[in-house]
């Protein structure tokens, strides 16, 4: 392996931040896909602080509105999802690209592989993107995605979620994750959600219903902040109680 002075780092090392068990047995697809050998740690000076920068040309004016662009309105519960992209010191990450994708209100993705017998919605594609503003804030208008069955185990259903992809300032801050909705009864049965072993870290994946974000007579509002790591080989401190 590496030279003797390099620490052995396993793919599940909690120093990466909130512990994600990459070979979580409850999630069957990890079996043949999660790395099964120790990771190699780069020397500290190898930390690469750069990453791609996306300008306004990457985003069209209506890309943040998943309910727009079709002949009619999509079916389902209209929602606003907004929050800030921050670094671990709470500083906003400005003008960074946020991409999302999701199932429709019936729990069906517009994807050829999705065979769930729920209807496609001709007025819903399920993809959006935006750049954060000067306060690091993103904002999407969409419909609440439905839960859907998957083949992981008998009677397996995913809690409702929206997939998020975020770039941050450096390539090593790159994050792909899923945002959930508060109080979902499927949480306790979902191995993907539970692959994050620390309940406090899991809670960071759940959005918060927010009445001030809610627009009267029009859409419910959810707030969800995204915190990106330093993207360094060093540990990312986790928020302490009472800190």
């Amino acid at each position: 392996m590496t030279d003797a002075s390099s620490p052995i780092v396993l793919p599940d090392d909690p120093s990466f931040g909130p512990e994600v068990q990459v070979d979580y047995p409850g999630y069957r697809s990890t079996r043949w896909r999660a790395p099964d050998r120790p990771l190699v740690t780069l020397p500290e000076e190898e930390h690469d602080p750069t990453g791609p920068v996306f300008g306004d040309s990457a985003v069209d004016e209506l890309d943040h509105d998943l309910t727009a662009g079709h002949d009619g309105e999509p079916l389902g519960e209209r929602i606003i999802v907004t929050g800030r992209v921050l670094d671990v010191d709470g500083r906003p990450l400005r003008r960074t690209l946020v991409e999302i994708w999701q199932a429709n209100a019936g729990g069906r993705y517009r994807h050829e592989v999705d065979q769930h017998p729920a209807p496609l919605d001709p007025n819903f594609q399920g993809a959006g993107r935006c750049l954060t503003d000067d306060a690091g804030r993103y904002r999407f208008i969409t419909v609440k995605p439905g839960s859907y069955p998957w083949g992981n185990h008998e009677n397996a259903w995913r809690p409702a979620h929206i997939h998020f992809s975020v770039f941050g300032r450096a390539f090593t801050q790159r994050l792909v994750t899923q945002m959930y909705f508060p109080g979902d009864p499927l949480f306790e049965f979902d191995p993907i959600f539970h692959s994050v072993r620390d309940p406090k870290a899991r809670a960071l994946l759940v959005s918060r219903f927010d009445l001030p974000t809610t627009t009267p007579e029009w859409a419910l509002g959810y707030q969800w902040d995204i915190v990106l790591g330093r993207g360094s080989p060093g540990p990312t401190p986790f928020e302490q109680d009472g800190a």
Binding site: M1, T2, D3, P11, D13, F16, G17, P18, E19, V20, Q21, V22, Y27, S29, T30, R31, W32, R33, A34, P35, D36, R37, L39, V40, T41, L42, P43, D48, P52, V88, D89, G90, E99, W101, Y109, R110, H111, G126, A127, G128, R129, H163, S165, F171, T172, V176, T177, Q178, I192, V196, R202, L204, L205, I226, L228, G229, G231, P237, F238, E239
Partner: protein, 161 residues
């Protein structure tokens, strides 16, 4: 006070709804030095992973690209060899995403026509011979080949990040 970082979750099988860009060309195909970089993403049984995604970042040149692995596990980019930068041999940073990967994995691609620079590279020189070879692309005609293997004896070397 520090904020807890948001945990990673798998990209899942349907990422192509949201993450499809015409972004496989880091340079134009007719640019000087442009070459095809291609490979197959394999699981631990040697089966191609057809619902994965690969991103490459040329830090020295500020160029980024993204390729899906549909339909047969194959990803392809048009790249130019990055310049050597700060004592590093020319390389691309690589991230791998897939259903079944709860966190994306990081690796690097080095270039086979840079043996002296590769020997002096601080990352490559910290590896044993098998690992070093696994991070150097192979020439195949005019293209470069870099297969990514998630598991097993010939697994790709993944880097902590």
């Amino acid at each position: 006070m520090t904020f807890g970082t948001t945990p990673s979750q798998t990209v899942g099988p349907f990422y192509s709804i949201g993450l499809t860009w015409p972004s496989t060309e880091l340079v134009a195909p007719d640019a000087p030095g442009a070459l095809e970089l291609t490979g197959v993403l394999f699981d631990g049984r040697g089966e191609p992973i057809a619902d994965g995604m690969v991103e490459v970042w040329d830090a020295a040149g500020g160029r980024w690209g993204r390729s899906g692995t549909a339909p047969e596990g194959r990803f392809s980019f048009v790249v130019a060899k990055p310049v050597a930068d700060g004592g590093h041999a020319p390389h691309l940073d690589v991230f791998v995403f897939a259903r079944g990967l709860l966190r994306h994995q990081r690796t690097r691609i080095y270039f086979p026509d840079e043996p002296a620079a590769n020997d002096a590279d601080p990352v490559l020189s910290a590896l044993d011979e098998r690992e070093r070879e696994a991070l150097v692309a192979r020439p195949e005609g005019a293209a470069l080949l870099f297969d990514i293997r998630m598991q097993g004896e010939s697994a790709t070397v993944f880097l902590a990040h």
